[in-house]
Subunit: 450 residues, 2 copies
């Protein structure tokens, strides 16, 4: 009898974490990974820094190459696309994108780790040349090349999520004339608008033109190439447009195979990362994740979660019993001179759950007042009215936002009330914090409102 | 009938927090504070930065002056020493240090906030001129003056706790020939020796001479002035010695009045900050604090805790019912280019409790590998063998130690096991962390040992 065989679709964070973990635990398993692109296991989060020139070599973004995986006993096949899953026959249809050859590849266990795709606006011209998503290393390498060659002068970023903002900053750093169109009232709509406004200000401060409350209604295209981005209010001439409207799970393959999908079309999975079809697992940006604060499944595509889900899938495929309990919605980004962080639920998410809430926002210093280099930091906290259950927080500051959002994240994991958070024994020294940490100051404030 | 009267002994963090809080809540209370020194409410933690020249003006360290407190309706009397407490008669003996006048001052409520005193080695010459503690703003101003005037060339720091280390760095910054004598095997004995060694290396790296495993046995004194520090191994000529052996609670006054003392001579208090004598409260560095991990009272003098305890005492004195549950042993310091942080119990503390433990130490990067400016960070975690209960952690790194120790502190408050910590949803972006936060990497490691 031959060895059991694990097939992984997708060679980035989730897929390769799972493959590596399973490899470590089981010798008696053939592991083959099919990746459509030319790269494996790269840091997608690093692409804006590569395009912006802060990172010089794209190879620095690659954690492990296909060759390195092969030496580990993982058959990593790049430029191979899986075009169909046959759950009955336990096989997938694979096409070698170099040769055009196609065949059925059998599996005992299948892991879907197909990631996410950038959302494209459903408007005329959206497929024109010059409109780019930033979701693969290939796309990042291509963008950097265009900028290096001086082929673009004016760039319009469509959408002010964190990738849009990081790319806007990168383009600005490369001296391109950069503007950003955002449908909502402020950029960064994973923050409440009052906190998002601080980020909008920072973006304007480095010379990016913001068009808030505007919608892209078309792309002006000539000879297949972008000429301008057209909003409901104006026409913005552009040599290049970058999509920053967020991503959607890449699950067409799973849907076609009858694998049940959930929130926003992400693949439904249990705590062990199993789909509802026997022998098929899913992990990463293509899969649902349980939100420990809303107590509902969600789709929150992030590299950290992809790694954790991949690891858990790999442990299970390696014969262990492992579970991934879920996330609390933590995210951080560096935008211009600001650290921007959030965790838990924001106001609109709390309202969607039908909960009553209170909030408090405090502006503080990042260090002791007398210690040189202190900046400002704004901390917002949200709690359930009545019970005082801590529901989430948002932080925008010159430093220390990443530090402090993690304090809140752990408090959410522990299900703390704001009352319980008042006396948290957080570290203090003049270079790092005022005596009353801004998180504690905010918590002291909100306790009065509960 | 006259107003009720609150007398506070000690005008720094704990005393003034309590006075301010009580003032806000009750108009019908006379509040008088007696402070032996000339200053109120100053940032003792900032003294090394003032002496080192990073902070130019000592006034920057004063949060509020006696005049400011008086405008708030708090009668803050500086240069007034309380020399006796009469709990039966509900009065304290006060002496005006300027005029020499003395009198009995009646109280309805008394708060003892007398702080701590530097430990002096019980060796010959320890009272000579030229040997300084750093526990009051006055002492800091005096030290800075001596250095500014160029009166000292060689300084010996006795003791490698965080104040000793911060002062050693300050002296080194001021171009004094600086050495440090430490009895233990490494500096910073609130860390395990393996982690303390990283700090010892950093101290040596800026040109400070370390004498580890050496004990001061005498001070060589001539005409009442220090000439040299004598250890069990050598004689170190010195124009100045600075005590960095830690502090002990300043509770002679309380002891003489028959107020029960506890750990290390600190005043015993309950969760509301009441002593065991009716009408008498205590808060800050002179008081015990409950340790939430060891579940025992402890003496851990820190500005943050003093502020929290003072606030709770003030709330209670103001008519509310407030409690201070305790601390988990968090502390952070910036030593040379390193952030040094700890929380929970260290190995020797765990051993004292008779618990069996496991540990894991990982060395990681502070940012994504490809992101410029990444440094190294070493994270150690400790957990109870068998149960996996998280017991504490220590972090030494070029950046991000303060950030990460707070994650551990909240986990300790929540009583998490290391198993529960593995999937903490901590923030990730390339400028702030590798995808697997070093804390999570350490936790993944220790889980295998439990």
């Amino acid at each position: 009898m031959g060895k059991e065989r694990l097939v992984v679709i997708g060679g980035d964070a989730a897929g390769m974490s799972a493959a590596s973990q399973a490899r470590r635990l089981r010798d008696d398993l053939d592991i083959v990974v099919f990746e459509r692109g030319p790269h494996t296991s790269y840091a997608a989060c690093g692409i804006p820094y590569y395009v912006g020139g802060l990172v010089q070599e794209w190879r620095a973004l690659v954690a492990r190459t296909p060759d390195e995986f092969r030496r580990q006993g993982i058959d990593a096949c790049v430029r191979h696309e899986v075009t169909e899953i046959d759950p009955e026959g336990r096989r997938v249809r694979v096409r070698n994108l170099e040769t055009g050859d196609a065949w059925w590849e059998p599996y005992d266990h299948l892991l879907i780790a197909t990631g996410a795709l950038p959302v494209r606006p459903a408007v005329p011209g959206a497929d024109a040349e010059g409109i780019y998503g930033v979701h693969t290393l290939e796309s990042g390498i291509h963008l950097r090349q265009i900028v290096d060659e001086g082929k673009a002068r004016r760039v319009v970023i469509v959408g002010g999520g964190y990738i849009g903002l990081e790319m806007a900053e990168a383009m600005c750093l490369r001296d391109l004339e950069t503007s950003l169109v955002q449908r909502g009232p402020q950029v960064m709509n994973t923050l409440d608008p009052d906190m998002g406004a601080l980020v909008s200000d920072a973006i304007r401060g480095i010379g990016i033109t913001l068009y808030l409350g505007e919608e892209v209604i078309a792309f002006d295209v000539k000879d297949g190439r972008l000429r301008a981005v057209i909003t409901d209010k104006r026409e913005l001439p552009a040599d290049m447009a970058i999509l920053g409207m967020g991503v959607r799970p890449n699950t067409e393959l799973a849907r076609a195979a009858g694998i049940p999908l959930g929130v926003k079309g992400a693949i439904r999975v249990n705590e062990r990362m199993q789909t509802e079809v026997a022998g098929i697992w899913a992990a990463g940006d293509c899969a649902e994740v349980f939100h420990l604060v809303s107590r509902r499944p969600a789709h929150i595509p992030l590299g950290t979660t992809a790694n954790k889900q991949g690891r858990v899938a790999g442990l299970n495929l390696g014969g262990r019993h492992a579970t991934f309990p879920g996330v609390v919605g933590t995210a951080v980004s560096k935008i211009c001179s600001l650290e921007v962080a959030r965790t838990g639920l924001q106001e609109k998410e709390i309202a969607e759950l039908g909960l009553e809430f209170v909030s408090a926002t405090v502006k503080s210093r990042t260090r002791a007042g007398y210690y040189p280099g202190a900046g400002t930091i704004t901390v917002k906290v949200l709690a359930e009215k009545g019970t005082g259950r801590f529901l989430g927080g948002q932080i925008v500051g010159t430093e220390g936002a990443a530090k402090r959002i993690d304090v809140m994240a752990v408090a959410l994991h522990a299900g703390m009330t704001v009352d319980e958070m008042i006396h948290l024994d957080l570290s203090y020294a003049p270079p790092f914090s005022p005596v009353w940490d801004p998180v504690l100051t905010a918590v002291r404030q909100i306790v009065k409102e509960v």
